[in-house]
């Protein structure tokens, strides 16, 4: 046995030690910052006398990033506005959103980092159904408030299993019912085809549609998975079935692909699409980008023209709406680099809701306290329909209006409709009206 043999053991041991110590060095510096706050004012993890620390997982890169990556900066812009106007009982909101690339295993990793290392008070507006499903059990078992999830999956509304989780946006079952009721009324006797994402998102939406649309009218049901962009066969099948109206529960990229594929087949049905996939600015941009890749030039606004969709926030083009005016002002001051589109509006509106909840939770908020505050109900705020929050309901918005895209903007058609998630619950016209935004811009 020569000299190098005897050296071998210490070398491996030293390598392991060095690397793990390297892993440890970071922790000693960062763990100090979160734990010890300022005396009596530190009522919960992440709360100090001067700050409320919250975190989120967001697709800042990867397939879901176009459009959705604007949401967290927009929410943060609203928080900066609040911070500049006195904060929440004097505390400033600090919002740390980390990139998960829409990959569930990365979501798990960044949420662990936020909860265990950064010691956030709550997770706020975690984006995506498959991604957030990966952490919802963890957050509830560690009793971390999981507020206003950026996904319309009906699955979050389960207070027995997930007492700390709250949805926010209109869930897909309700959305399906509202779109379905509109189709039943306006396209009676027409042949209807479905095009939807084959997961909880699309399936929930179709569930809602089926509650309303007579089965005899549905001639074809086609699905896609987000990892496979070859949707030609699905579009061809819809055309072969003679669908005159196609209802789409798809993300923006797949609505764009659908539109381009149907152009190629000179298939021109009336398109009714879920709010999730129809922000006109995002969709128009994607249409132009995809067409360019294929060597063609199209006009995005022209292709999105007269798509029927729904909306649960005031429409961007409505300059007379006080909420649009408020959010435009905040956007221009704190987030001017982003386009003022549906995603930005969404981010600011959900940020507003969070501030509502924190104000309601009181001067010394606790994790259980904020849950209780939301269960006591939240005022309507930026949403066109009221929230359903109660001890037995963690869903969020209860309704939306029908809109039509005209010249790159959604135009509201008729009243706001509300409904529930049951098969028989009626779709009724909302009799109330949206309160005006407070002049101060603070809830």
């Amino acid at each position: 046995m020569n000299k190098s043999h005897r050296l071998r053991l210490p070398v491996i041991a030293a390598a392991v030690t060095a690397s793990l110590v390297a892993a440890g060095c970071g922790s000693s510096s960062s763990s100090g910052s979160g734990g010890s706050g300022g005396g009596a004012a530190a009522s919960a993890p992440g709360i100090t006398s001067t700050q409320i620390l919250i975190g989120s997982h967001q697709p800042l890169t990867g397939p879901a990033a176009p459009g959705y990556s604007e949401i967290a900066p927009a929410a943060n812009a609203y928080f900066q506005y609040v911070n500049a106007h006195g904060g929440v009982y004097g505390r400033k909101i600090k919002y740390t959103y980390l990139d998960d690339g829409y990959d569930p295993s990365k979501t798990v990793s960044v949420v662990h980092q936020l909860v265990l290392q950064d010691n956030v008070f709550s997770i706020f507006n975690g984006l995506g159904t498959p991604t957030h499903l990966a952490v919802v059990k963890y957050l509830n078992s560690t009793k971390v408030p999981d507020l206003f999830i950026a996904s319309g999956c009906d699955c979050w509304n389960n207070p027995a299993a997930y007492p700390y989780s709250f949805g926010w946006q209109l869930d897909y079952v309700r959305e399906g019912k509202i779109l379905g009721a509109y189709i039943k009324q306006h396209f009676a006797g027409k042949k209807i085809g479905y095009f939807y994402q084959n997961d909880e998102f699309g399936q929930d939406g179709v569930k809602g549609l089926d509650f309303e649309i007579p089965q005899s009218q549905v001639v074809s049901r086609q699905t896609y998975v987000p990892t496979n962009v070859n949707i030609g066969p699905a579009v061809a099948a819809l055309k072969a079935a003679g669908a005159q109206v196609v209802v789409s529960f798809a993300i923006p990229a797949f609505n764009a692909l659908f539109k381009l594929a149907s152009l190629k087949l000179s298939f021109n049905p009336t398109l009714v699409a879920s709010n999730v996939g129809t922000d006109p600015i995002t969709l128009g941009g994607l249409l132009e980008a995809f067409a360019k890749k294929g060597g063609a030039k199209v006009n995005g606004n022209q292709l999105t023209q007269s798509i029927i969709t729904d909306g649960y926030l005031p429409t961007l083009g409505d300059g007379s709406n006080s909420w649009i005016a408020l959010f435009k002002k905040v956007h221009d001051t704190y987030d001017a680099k982003a386009p003022f589109d549906g995603n930005v509006l969404y981010g600011e509106a959900v940020g507003y809701t969070f501030v509502q909840a924190m104000l309601k939770a009181g001067k010394n908020p606790t994790r259980a306290g904020v849950v209780k505050a939301i269960e006591g109900g939240l005022p309507q705020g930026a949403s066109v329909a009221p929230y359903d929050y109660s001890a037995t309901d963690h869903g969020g918005m209860m309704g939306a209006f029908i809109g039509v895209i005209k010249n790159g903007a959604i135009i509201q058609q008729g009243p706001v409709w509300t409904t529930d998630t049951t098969p028989t619950g009626p779709v009724t016209q909302f009799s109330g009206s949206q309160p005006a935004a407070p002049a101060s811009g603070m809830p």
Binding site: S19, V21, L60, N198
Partner: protein, 364 residues
């Protein structure tokens, strides 16, 4: 002797890991578990490429097989962890045997292409059969630390222990395998398959065997990932995972077990650190989000320029400069050392001698 030495090294490493896991906060424990997952996956891949000379882009797909096996066993049969891990490795090894049989006739870019197909196609099976595999939502698994550890015991520390133990056992087995006759035969077919065949080695069988061992590692890593992230879904096993593993193996140093550790450290820790730095310097969201990806690329480029044989190769070269008396170190890269000397020279058993770089350029 060799076995004893590896066991002692593993025990020392285990003690260090235990001490660190108790010292560090819960998130670092979680990261240790993640590192252990990548170490196992990369070690298997590194063995396949560095020792047997086959390239695979399908390691992520094999991890998916292991992860789904583990999730199904735990959900439907309530198997305990100590049984789930070997079972996942075994099922994946079986899959590896099938792929290996097909792949043994291929080499270089053709083999990479075939395994690439696997990485792309396999995870989408989960979407095709949502009834069994839970579709895009995946299957969720929960692992609870034994009650004996107390109610306040951090769950992530338990994960770190379980994964580190599995990783250490795997490393000891691989270390011994690499120094055994099988390991020497692998080196022989890597360096010169024709000469090896003339010496009576069954080149095809050895290649398939390397594939099986590598797949078993990936399967185990997949099972470990399943319990670490408590979720198995197709979104976790994209092509970019396979490529990240390959990059980790090359970055750490192909064919070395210590290199697998370096590769895993880079994959797990660099993005977290860089994100922290980027956000603490107040960079705007769009820029900060892309910095980890850019930093990863920069690390990749720098390591390949400065340490063409990976981090482990570079460290060994640095050590060689400070310890010039080491008697069995081969001279300049390009000078061919006799095969017998390779085995003696390694501080870990899979050292890929610098000379084989030229060899592979020739064969692939």
């Amino acid at each position: 002797m060799t076995l004893l030495r590896h066991l002692i090294a593993a025990l020392v490493a285990g003690a260090v890991i235990w001490a660190l896991s108790v010292q560090l906060n819960a998130f670092r424990d979680f990261q240790m578990a993640e590192i252990a997952v990548y170490v196992v996956a990369i070690a298997g891949l590194s063995l396949l490429i560095g020792l047997s000379g086959q390239i695979s882009l399908g390691q992520g797909a094999f991890m998916a097989i292991g992860a789904y096996t583990a999730a199904l066993l735990m959900l439907h049969l309530n198997w305990p962890l100590w049984a789930v891990f070997p079972a996942s490795a075994a099922v994946t090894a079986l899959a590896g045997a099938v792929v290996g049989l097909a792949a043994a006739r291929l080499s270089g870019p053709y083999l990479a292409g075939a395994t690439l197909m696997l990485a792309v196609a396999l995870p989408s099976l989960a979407s095709q059969f949502p009834g069994v595999f839970g579709g895009d939502q995946g299957l969720s698994v929960t692992v609870i630390a034994p009650a004996a550890l107390g109610a306040t015991f951090p769950p992530t520390r338990w994960l770190a222990w379980v994964c580190a133990l599995a990783a250490l056992i795997t490393l000891v087995i691989l270390a011994n395998l690499g120094r055994s006759r099988v390991g020497r035969n692998w080196r022989a077919i890597r360096d010169d398959p024709i000469a090896a065949a003339l010496s009576g080695l069954n080149v095809g069988a050895l290649r398939v065997l390397a594939f099986i061992v590598s797949a078993a590692c990936a399967g185990l890593a997949g099972a470990m990932l399943a319990i670490t992230t408590s979720l198995v879904s197709p979104g976790s096993f994209t092509l970019s995972l396979s490529i990240a593993l390959l990059a980790g193996a090359v970055l750490g140093g192909l064919g070395t077990l210590t290199g697998a550790l370096w590769g895993a450290l880079v994959i797990v820790l660099v993005p977290t650190y860089v994100t922290d730095v980027a956000t603490s310097h107040g960079l705007s969201g769009g820029v900060a989000a892309n910095i980890p990806i850019a930093a990863y690329g920069v690390v990749l480029i720098i390591v390949m320029l400065v340490f063409p044989y990976g981090i482990q190769g570079g460290l060994r070269r640095l050590a060689g400069q400070f310890l010039p008396t080491s008697p069995t170190r081969p001279g300049s890269p390009g000078q061919r050392a006799p095969a017998g000397e390779h085995a003696e020279d390694l501080d870990s058993p899979y050292r890929r001698p610098p000379v084989s770089e030229h060899q592979e350029e020739g064969t692939s």
